[in-house]
């Protein structure tokens, strides 16, 4: 729609004789003929950008978009919009590492937005078993997903939206991978996971639990039967302490093993005292599980608290629940009784030396500084590693990961059998659910590009979000964002340009969490989803970084009346470049940096 040009109304007068003049010095018309736009050397354009939260999210979750829909009361729409980039809000809304909250610009003013809680709220608005309302026809290609963890689930979800026919193979009798057997119920209830799989099944995805690839069916067979394979078998084997006696006691178990037993409903008795070795989420999960089983728990970690990989919130909750922590200590020697019970666990004090390859300071033994830990059981949670036997050397691995290229395609012999892709914890990537989900999305798009013979690298350039590596499924599919203003997914909002003076302080809602005494009495979840009022209140705090909200600041502050509100049901504003002098006031006063100043020569896309 073209806004009527005011410059068309301009009229000039050219007096050739004194007789043409007005009888006295008085005006005849406006200054509209003076096209002050010619003064510019830079000009403003409306350009929605990638907000800090989306930029930080490994999956590229378009958080601002669904928060906006939430604020508008369009809960269903928010749910399906969220799922464009991250298919499992009910899951991630309970257990995500919350990279988004750590990057949220609102924190500069008061607190970050409770994005995680809001995601959970949105995730709980629609029955998880609801299949996607717009399922496409099958494209004739088959995909075998090996492993039903978050990476596999994500790949299956996106691949179905791209028309693939999918089967998910899972060795265990239950679907969900780490979500089902690695994360305790109190963090992620089983029925949530089960409902998600209902949803996937209702989308036409075939589920094959109790089918181990490498045992019940071989990789080679799958390669013949399917066009594409996605390896997502995860890391379910614990690293060993490498101490003598480690394998000789039933009281020494892996954290993963403990969690799986509890998840599958099997009996377990870790004894009165439990020593958990490790500092990651598995260690904490195991510790809090043991507490709930009635034990006294000490977590022994070789670095200090600030280096712990586990989420600080988890650590805090664990502490509240009575878990003890012993930092800068590592197991030195296991002393067993004849019957296999543990007599003593000798630990050595550690100190922090120079950083290692992870960037964290390397722990160094303080020789001779030993101490005893009396414990009934030892739970090892010092790292998880994958099992690659089923690969049968078809796929190259290195450093306990499956070697992949940027398409996530594995390094395998080129032949006419199925193309193999990999994702989740088995590739070289941070081990978080968000990353796993992101890899599933990436692989699905890569497979689709391969199917269509389209160059993935080229596609990647177009659909990468902000600093990357997250990519946008919406952009790939050509779906419009919530806000139909010119959107540039390559530009991240300039956080320094957020104008906090336009926002009133309002603290984040305190998470409603049950007290530790109640929590440890069961494995039931101890937090509840936000109420509608609370969700609205929290969502209202969102700054909408980089995305126009029609706040009218530009319209109000332009000294040259060169910002025009489109109206007529159209979103946003337009600049009248006939008169805009390029002063930059609109750019500076936009509270959320959704205007960009570009050099005058650049062509502007007509929107």
């Amino acid at each position: 729609m073209t806004v009527k040009k005011r410059s068309d109304l301009a009229k000039t007068y050219d007096f050739k004789s004194w007789r043409d003049f007005t009888p006295m010095n008085t005006s005849l018309g406006t200054m509209l003929h003076n096209l002050t736009g010619s003064w510019r050397f830079i000009k403003p354009v409306y350009e929605d950008k990638v907000p800090a939260c989306q930029n930080a999210c490994p999956a590229g979750n378009d958080i601002e978009g669904w928060v906006r829909l939430l604020q508008e009361g369009k809960y269903d729409k928010a749910y399906w919009y969220l799922k464009r980039e991250q298919p499992f809000p009910a899951i991630l809304g309970r257990i995500c590492f919350k990279f988004c909250e750590a990057a949220c610009n609102r924190a500069v003013l008061d607190d970050c937005i409770g994005i995680n809680e809001l995601e959970r709220f949105v995730g709980d608005q629609v029955a998880l078993s609801t299949p996607h309302p717009d399922l496409p026809e099958y494209n004739g290609k088959g995909l075998a997903v090996i492993g039903s963890g978050p990476a596999g689930m994500s790949a299956a979800y996106y691949a179905r939206l791209l028309g693939f026919k999918i089967t998910i193979f899972e060795a265990l009798p239950v679907m969900g991978g780490v979500l089902r057997v690695g994360i305790p119920n109190y963090r992620l209830p089983r029925d949530v996971v089960a409902s998600e799989f209902e949803g996937l099944k209702n989308m036409g995805i075939e589920l094959r639990p109790e089918t181990a690839v490498g045992k019940d069916i071989t990789l080679d067979e799958l390669r013949n039967e399917y066009d594409y394979i996605f390896l997502a078998t995860g890391v379910h084997t614990s690293m060993k302490l490498k101490l003598e006696g480690e394998d000789q006691s039933h009281q020494i178990m892996s954290g993963l093993g403990m969690l799986k037993k509890v998840a599958l409903g099997e009996e377990i008795d870790p004894g009165k005292k439990v020593a958990v070795i490790g500092g990651g989420n598995t260690a904490i999960d195991a510790a809090r599980t043991a507490i709930r089983l009635g034990s006294d728990v000490t977590v022994i970690y070789r670095r200090s608290e600030s280096e712990m990989p586990a989420h600080p919130e988890e650590v805090e909750e664990a502490r509240e629940e009575g878990v003890d922590f012993r930092f800068l200590a590592a197991p030195e020697k296991i002393e067993l009784n004849d019957d296999g019970t543990i007599r003593n666990l000798v630990c050595c004090e550690m100190e922090l030396g120079p950083p290692d390859e992870s960037g964290r300071r390397r722990p160094i033994k303080k020789e001779g500084m030993l101490f005893d830990v009396k414990t009934d059981s030892i739970v090892t949670a010092i790292g998880e590693i994958p099992l690659f036997d089923y690969l049968n050397e078809i796929v190259r691995t290195e450093n306990r990961t499956v070697a992949i290229n940027e398409c996530l395609e594995v390094d395998a012999k080129a032949d006419d059998k199925a193309r193999i892709f990999a994702g989740g914890d088995i590739i070289d990537m941070p081990h978080t659910v968000a990353h796993a989900v992101a890899s599933g999305k990436r692989a699905a798009i890569a497979m689709d590009c391969d199917r269509k013979n389209v160059d993935f690298a080229d596609t990647l350039k177009k659909i990468v979000i902000g600093d990357g590596p997250a990519i946008s499924f919406s952009k790939y599919m050509g779906w419009d964002p919530v806000n139909p203003v010119s959107y540039n997914n390559h530009v991240v909002v300039d956080s320094k340009k957020i104008v906090y003076d336009y926002f009133s302080k309002a603290l984040k809602l305190q998470k409603k969490i049950q007290g530790p005494d109640v929590r440890i009495t069961s494995f039931k979840p101890f937090t509840s989803t936000l109420t509608l009022e609370d969700a609205q209140q929290e969502a209202a705090r969102c700054i909408h970084c980089g995305r126009c909200t029609e706040c009218d600041n530009c319209l109000i502050f332009c000294p040259d009346m060169s910002v025009l509100f489109k109206g007529n049901g159209q979103f946003g504003y337009t600049f009248d470049y006939d008169y805009c002098k390029g002063c930059g006031i609109c750019f500076t006063e936009c509270p959320r940096n959704s205007i960009t100043m570009i050099e005058e020569e650049s062509p502007v896309e007509e929107d």
Binding site: T26, S27, G29, Y502, S504, D552, I556, I585, T588
Partner: protein, 301 residues
């Protein structure tokens, strides 16, 4: 929550009484001030403009960027010319027309102060607006009685920057006992619209003093005009308040407070300001704010 600027969109999207094509510089506060003032006043307004930046901004013969009647008058006569126009409109029976003198700081604080004082003493029913860019900007940035201490101007150049303080024009106007004296700033546009709407209904002499940034004169980035002006209020250098028949109301409690030092940071005109001057300025700003808060408290009793 975002504090939306409280101006109804219908008002902002109404056809502007200030048409584009203005001859003002990029980032000019005076242009914005007029736009907002007329949003508050509406079309039944006559503007009386003495020599000042707006003499140029409005355009040259035979063009005018304003859709209200305008009369250009001599530099020092803004207030009294407005008084004359007011008398005429009263005689014509058009008592609802607001006669607005729109003068710069030169035409208000200095050369025009006699006429202003006369009109105020007579309590003539005019709206006198001083858009203050703190120097004789139109003639090339020479110092005025409104130039703050520490500022560079072409007549207070490096080595001889202005030592004298800015005249307290509000106190001067209040000394005349007029019914309405207010400060305003282009950084708080809803407050401007509110004050101009209000001015329509008050009889007698109304004085509104608008802080109006000038990028070439203040040596600031044109894009930062509003930001810098907001900082003036945050630094308590230019508080936003109104005095209606002697009752003080502080209209803006700044979202955060900053030091005077922070305020002068982005402005090249203060580059030579000594620490001694800065301390004096800070003390004065603090004192002024405290006095104002006390006056407002006393008024609310």
């Amino acid at each position: 929550m975002q504090k939306l600027i409280d101006i109804p969109r219908e008002l902002m999207t109404e056809e502007d009484l200030v048409q584009p094509g203005l001859l003002s510089c990029q980032g000019c506060g005076a242009s914005l001030a007029m736009k907002l003032a007329l949003k508050g006043l509406g079309e039944r307004t006559v503007a009386v403009i003495p020599a000042c930046c707006w003499t140029i901004i409005i355009g040259t013969y035979p063009y005018s960027a304003l859709k209200v009647p305008v009369i250009h008058v001599l530099f020092e006569t803004a207030a009294v010319s407005a008084s004359g126009v007011r008398a005429a409109f009263d005689v014509r029976g058009e008592k609802d027309v607001v006669v607005m003198a729109w003068a710069g700081d030169g035409g208000t604080f200095d050369i025009g102060i006699q006429a202003l004082s006369g009109a105020a003493e007579r309590n003539d029913d005019i709206l006198y607006v001083c858009y203050d860019n703190e120097a004789y900007m139109n003639t090339g940035i020479q110092r005025s009685g409104a130039t703050p201490m520490g500022a560079w101007t072409t007549t207070t150049p490096a080595g001889a920057i202005k030592e004298e303080s800015k005249k307290d024009i509000e106190k001067i106007m209040l000394a005349h006992g007029i019914p309405y004296v207010a400060t305003a700033s282009v950084a708080y546009p809803d407050d401007i619209v509110y004050k101009f709407k209000k001015a329509r209904s008050i009889k007698g002499t109304k004085f509104i003093h608008i802080l109006s940034p000038c990028p070439p004169g203040w040596r600031t980035d044109p894009g930062k005009s509003i930001q810098v002006t907001r900082m003036a209020t945050q630094a308590k250098v230019f508080p936003i308040y109104e005095v209606e028949n002697g009752r003080y109301t502080i209209n803006i409690y700044p979202e955060r407070q900053i030091s005077v030092k922070e305020y002068i940071q982005p402005q090249g005109r203060f580059r030579e300001m000594s620490d001694k001057m800065l301390n004096v300025a800070q003390e004065r700003a603090d004192q002024k704010w405290d006095d104002l808060v006390r006056m407002a408290e006393d008024s609310s009793l």
